[in-house]
Amino acid sequence: MASDIRIKAKLNGDTAEVKTLMKHEMETGTRKDKKTGETVPAHYITEVKCELNGKLVMTANWGPAVSKNPYFAFTVKGAKAGDVLKVSWVDNKGGGSSAETTLG
C-alpha cells in the first residue's frame, strides 16, 4: 500500500523541501450520513513520521481537523543526494501506510 502517499522532494544545497500528499478520508466523527442519518465514525490519521536514512526527523500529531487527503510539507536539514526519506502514517483505527523516496 505504498501508492497512497505521494512524496515530492527537492534538494536545495543541504536542505530538502518535502511535499507529501496522503490519501485518507479524515472523518471527524461528527458528520452525519445524509442517507441514513447516522453519525459516520471518526477515522483519521493520528501520526505521521518522517525519517531520513532511518533517523526520525519529525513527527506530526494530527487530530480530525486536518483536511481530507492531507497535504503536509516540511523541510529537512543536512540532507544530501542519495539519502532515503521515509514518510509513514498511522490512523485511529490502527491502519497505516508508508512510502519512501531517494533524494537526488
Binding site: 483536511s67 516540511f74 536539514k77
Partner: protein, 148 residues
C-alpha cells in the same frame, strides 16, 4: 494453545521493544486533542498557557477561506532550538488541529491544510528552548468545514 518458554520470551521481547521505541511512537497527545478550549489545549500540551506573542513566529493563513474544509496553513520560525509547532483553531469544537514535534534534522517550517468550522482566530504556538511563542491570525470562513 500452550504457552511455551519460547513464546513467553518472544512476548517479553516484543513488550520490551515497544517500551524502548522512541517516545514519539506512543506520544499522541490524546488529552490535548480532546480539549475543548485553546487554554486547555496549551495546558495539556505544554503544562502551561503562558505564551509570548512573537514576530519570530510566522503564521501564513488566508484572510478569507471560502471553503472551511480546506484551509492552507503554514508556520515557520526563525527561533533557535524549535522543539514543536502547534496549530490551534480557537473556535473549532476541538481546537488543536495539529502538533509537529521537530527532531534535530527538521527546519521550523511546516505546511498543511486544515478544517475550520467557522470564522476563528488561528494560533500557531512554537516551543523553542522550553519557552512558548505564538502568532495569531483571524481567518474568515464562508462555508464551514465541520459536519455538512
Amino acid at each position: 494453545m500452550k504457552l511455551t518458554r519460547r513464546m513467553f520470551m518472544q512476548g517479553a521481547a516484543a513488550v520490551t521493544a515497544l517500551m524502548a521505541a522512541p517516545r514519539a511512537l506512543l506520544a499522541w497527545p490524546e488529552k490535548a486533542f480532546k480539549a475543548g478550549s485553546s487554554d486547555e489545549v496549551m495546558q495539556a500540551l505544554f503544562g502551561s498557557a503562558d505564551v509570548t506573542e512573537s514576530g519570530s513566529v510566522v503564521l501564513n493563513a488566508p484572510d478569507i477561506a471560502e471553503n472551511g474544509r480546506v484551509v492552507p496553513i503554514s508556520v515557520s520560525s526563525s527561533l533557535d532550538g524549535v522543539q514543536s509547532i502547534s496549530v490551534i483553531v480557537v473556535e473549532n469544537p476541538s481546537p488543536l488541529a495539529a502538533s509537529f514535534d521537530l527532531g534535530p534534522g527538521a527546519s521550523a517550517d511546516v505546511s498543511t491544510r486544515i478544517k475550520m468550522g467557522k470564522t476563528s482566530n488561528v494560533i500557531a504556538v512554537v516551543k523553542a528552548d522550553g519557552k512558548l511563542y505564538s502568532a495569531q491570525k483571524e481567518v474568515k470562513v464562508t462555508i464551514g468545514g465541520c459536519g455538512g
